[in-house]
Symmetry: C2
Subunit: 324 residues, 2 copies
């Protein structure tokens, strides 16, 4: 068994060893810039952890793991154009630092790179690996479309929101885990269980992201509080608040979200205060815990000695904001 730290170092080394800089420079510079912004590299870590969990050789999973990370970064790059986002991981987004055309084309090229890395696997596994990756990539695109659709849709239900984050976020987490299992030669039933575990984990992970936007500790979280609130984003918190609020609370909530010109600090703190009053923090934690419990149940189903499961269990807990 490898520790989380060892696997993280392996991924960092793999990215450091790769030379993405080629000609034409204007195409590959933004790709290097994007991949050097770092991030938590959770998806490739999940690939290696899962491969190791099923007794596979993690060296066979390193390139496909990188492929998923490159794919994830490609989706962020194109999403940032669509969302007109200025910052990504505290740095200028590619479309701001360069321009939209560069961001579109460098993104497309990263998508090809992702396929190149994912394809670096045993020929015998390629049909299954490619099917899994295609299915995942398509669903992520569909999730992003629903996310954009919801911006202008007056009534979005919590069920619709959960369906959207399943596509946009959870399937790639699930794909990462299944990919590691497939490369390790896991039993197909076990590979499907870890996929389903990944879906529940991914849902909890996204809800935790929503939660931290309002209730996170800025110092720990690393990004400013209230970004979702300021952009009127229909997160789980937002939808749950509108579903729960009655009378004066509902009027106040509507006013906070629709009145133009409220200073950012004031809007954020008042919405968070109202969220707390409505118990949205508790509702959200309950929902996170429910998905985490489902994930834990599936995790227990895996026919693997408990001591082998320690590393992945630890990472899963971290992803959903639990200490243990």
């Amino acid at each position: 068994m490898q520790t989380l730290e060892t696997l993280q170092e392996r991924i960092a080394a793999a990215f450091a060893d790769s030379h993405f800089q080629q000609e034409p420079r204007k195409l590959y510079e933004p790709i290097c810039y994007t991949l050097n912004l770092g991030g938590k590299r959770i998806r490739p870590l999940l690939v290696l952890l899962s491969c190791d969990l099923f007794g596979g050789d993690i060296e066979k999973a390193v390139y496909p793991a990188m492929g998923l990370e490159i794919f994830h970064n490609f989706t962020l790059l194109h999403d940032d154009i669509m969302d007109k986002a200025l910052l990504r991981r505290g740095m200028a987004t590619v479309h701001c630092k360069w321009n939209d055309n560069t961001a579109i084309l460098s993104g497309d090229t990263m998508f090809v790179l992702a396929y190149e890395y994912v394809a670096k696997t045993d020929a015998s596994l390629l049909p299954e690996v490619l099917f899994l990756f295609n299915d995942t990539a398509r669903k992520v695109c569909e999730g992003q479309q629903y996310d954009m659709d919801f911006e202008t849709l007056p009534d979005v239900s919590i069920d619709q929101y959960m369906m959207m984050i399943r596509l946009k976020t959870a399937v790639l987490i699930a794909c990462s885990l299944k990919l590691g299992a497939v490369i390790a030669g896991a039993d197909p039933l076990e590979a499907n269980i870890i996929y389903d575990f990944g879906i529940e984990l991914g849902l909890a992970f996204q809800l935790q992201d929503d939660y931290l936007d309002a209730f996170g500790d800025t110092k720990v979280f690393g990004k400013a509080i209230g970004g979702d609130i300021l952009t009127n984003k229909k997160t789980y918190l937002y939808l749950k608040a509108f579903q729960s609020a009655r009378g004066d609370d509902l009027i106040r909530l509507k006013r906070l979200y629709t009145t133009p010109g409220i200073p950012a600090d004031e809007k954020t703190s008042q919405v968070i205060e109202l969220y707390r009053k409505l118990g949205i923090d508790e509702f959200t934690r309950k929902e996170i815990n429910q998905h985490h419990s489902r994930a834990s149940f599936l995790f227990k189903e895996l026919n693997i000695p408990d001591d082998r499961k320690k590393q992945l269990r630890t990472l899963a807990r971290r992803m959903v904001g639990r200490k243990k």
Copy 2:
């Protein structure tokens, strides 16, 4: 041996039978719209022709052939955003009919669809097919970047231009032919010869496209004359004219391309007149014929009875504007 017409009908039927419309509608509608715009479907036709040439079962090539056509249409969709093009095949481009975000994300989804269709091949062939497609897709992106770079580069040589159209256009023609050969189980040496044939054919095809912009018959060509001239596009004709012109001709050429406000008709007709005076039509035809001759030489190298080669030879001649 199948006729060109039979193969064309097979491709048309395959697209007619495919149901690209799914949920979310806003994602898949632009994809259906794009794929229904038609076009000449040259790339899938080349796949089937090549597969048939090498004695393969064309039914095994239909889906991968569609994959290349979907990929080609994806590149046009994203190129149209970057070029701010208003029309494609006489209809509004996706980013005009919908918006940039829709065009970006529908394009990304088409790219996944392309991989899904290309992957519909025998598992034993998948590593080679996927390697070929990845290599092609990457080069097409690089070609598009060079094309954009050249817009603002003051001095572009004809060699640089040829390198760019090789990447942007010729490799996909070559890939189409090699893909058909690989699916037919052709000898790898033969598959490489038809790839090289495709490169020369693709170069001649793009030069013919440049030629027709100035010297085509509007009725036959189907699009207005002079689009490249009006957008100051650095085509083979433009670069050759600036290379050849001396004295007053050079001054006049520069003036036509740099003076703002010249009426479109006047600019087009005067540039074409000057091109003729400089012999650019003849230079270009000579260059086209040279690449076509190289293609023909490679085509003869193929160890296939001459009567089997008739259909592909006919299509190649049509692509470079020759009657026979």
